[in-house]
């Protein structure tokens, strides 16, 4: 039995936010950037053949679920995670854990969360939130992207947890069952940075650093291949993914830079502080790219020059990231 009151903190990103909030409740002092970094959350991917809401899929972070799992592995935190076939069973299991006073992480669709502004409610099935109690038949919810804690009716939560599509959460829920006395942050930070760099250079064109150049080539060809309307929608989707809830337009680059800074201070390493500054500048470049893309979208031009310039901006982001992450691969620990 745990009588500790759950405290909601607002965070930039849902998964790293939930990870930080759940672990803090268990007495592990961890910030959101730290969770994001240890979980090697930074990534890039562009999949022209996979259409998400009608536009080619683009991502700036690692696939859903990876951050929480990696953080817990690296800090030696014991968790219980479970999927369900039956809706009633899933809700009962949630109630049972909540009754012991333990907050529970939940995976679901943002489309069925009435507390979110309608503008954000698309069929996105990999949103994370925390349920931390039940009161008057409603669930007490801590959604990390919200400023304050909120509530949800059981019928909405069921829909959210059993949303269909890609991926299907199937009632996925997770909670912490045990924490070590002194988690080894130094080792975890090292593993997070190493893994992030490793994932940035896979031998496939759709993932990691090379995918930035793939996207640049695609964008350059938009005026020839697409109608101005379609090109604007495709560009819009790239921007929306880049700003996927609270990255400040930097496509999670600022979040990882904040992690490098915190890690540098904790481990007293100037090189990490320096890399943090470099990544902040790269984040600013990403933001500039998005600004320019928005300008092109507004006029719906098929002017080849502006698309050339835009893809050039993107290649510069890619080149600077390649240099930085290659350097970070050589870090001596």
């Amino acid at each position: 039995m745990n009588d500790k009151v759950f405290t909601h903190y607002q965070h930039a990103h849902c998964e790293s936010g939930v990870t930080a909030n759940l672990l803090r409740h268990e007495g592990v002092s961890i910030s959101e950037p730290m969770a994001f970094g240890i979980g090697a959350g930074l990534f890039f991917g562009h999949l022209p053949m996979l259409k998400v809401n009608g536009a080619p899929g683009t991502t700036y972070r690692i696939w859903p679920g990876a951050i929480f799992k990696r953080v817990c592995e690296r800090l030696d935190i014991k968790i219980h995670a479970q999927r369900f076939r039956d809706q009633g069973e899933a809700m009962l299991a949630l109630d049972n854990v909540l009754a012991t006073g333990k907050p529970v992480g939940i995976l679901g669709s943002v489309f069925y969360l009435p507390y979110l502004p309608e503008a954000f409610r698309f069929h996105f099935n990999a949103h994370n939130l925390v349920a931390y109690g039940k009161e008057n038949g409603e669930y007490l919810i801590s959604d990390p992207i919200m400023e304050t804690a909120t509530r949800i009716a059981p019928e909405d939560l069921v829909k959210c947890r059993f949303a269909k599509g890609v991926p299907e959460p199937r009632g996925f829920m997770y909670y912490v069952t045990g924490v070590p006395d002194k988690p080894d942050f130094a080792k975890a930070i090292q593993q997070g940075i190493k893994q992030m760099c490793f994932f940035m250079f896979p031998p496939l064109p759709w993932f990691g650093n090379s995918a930035i150049f793939l996207l640049a080539n695609r964008i350059q060809a938009y005026p020839q291949k697409l109608t101005p309307r379609k090109a604007a929608l495709y560009l819009g989707n790239v921007i929306r993914m880049q700003e996927e809830i609270g990255t400040g337009g930097g496509g999670f680059r600022y979040l990882f830079a904040a992690f490098l800074q915190e890690a540098g201070q904790l481990l007293q390493r100037d090189d990490l502080l320096h890399y943090s500054e470099e990544l902040t500048i790269i984040g600013d470049e990403w933001r500039n790219f998005a600004y320019s893309a928005a300008r092109i979208m507004k006029v719906r031009t098929s002017d080849v020059v502006s698309y050339d310039e835009l893809s050039e901006l993107l290649r510069r982001c890619g080149a600077h990231e390649r240099d930085l992450f290659r350097k970070m691969q050589q870090i001596k620990w």
Binding site: A12, I145, Q261, M297
Partner: protein, 136 residues
């Protein structure tokens, strides 16, 4: 991005101003901190554009439903931001079955049970579903 560069461009559509997201920015002393942002022009525009596109297509479908070229199912599918694959998944049907139900004549003859299922997916009553777009 410095703290004073954090965009505060109001998101003034679809209750967008209800949420102030947290973003990370650099303070004067070079340290990162969390700052609330009302919105960002570039993202607002991209988001608005996506919604405008949805609404245009929806208006087009509504017209077709009223003209009797499509069943109300097509309208509510789009209103709920679904495509045929997703709706079929929710309804437990094959995609070709859902497509067939877009034909007004087929839709009219559907079992009450299936129509009820569709209405449930869209969170509306069977009446709302079947009477949509019909001439009074």
């Amino acid at each position: 991005m410095k703290v004073n560069e954090v965009p505060q461009d109001k998101r003034d559509f679809k209750e967008g101003d209800k949420l102030k997201k947290l973003v990370y920015a650099v303070q004067e002393d070079g340290r990162y901190t969390g700052v609330n942002s009302a919105g960002w022009e570039a993202e607002n525009f991209a988001m608005k554009q996506a919604w405008d596109d949805i609404n245009e297509k929806l208006a087009d479908t509504e017209k077709k439903v009223r003209e009797g070229a499509l069943s109300p199912l097509a309208y509510f599918m789009q209103k709920n931001l679904m495509d045929i694959a997703l709706l079929a998944r929710y309804a437990g049907k094959w995609q070709w079955q859902v497509k067939r139900h877009f034909k007004p004549d087929v839709f009219k003859q559907l079992d009450r049970e299936i129509v009820g299922k569709y209405a449930g997916i869209f969170n509306i009553t069977v009446e709302e579903l079947i009477t949509f777009g019909s001439k009074q």
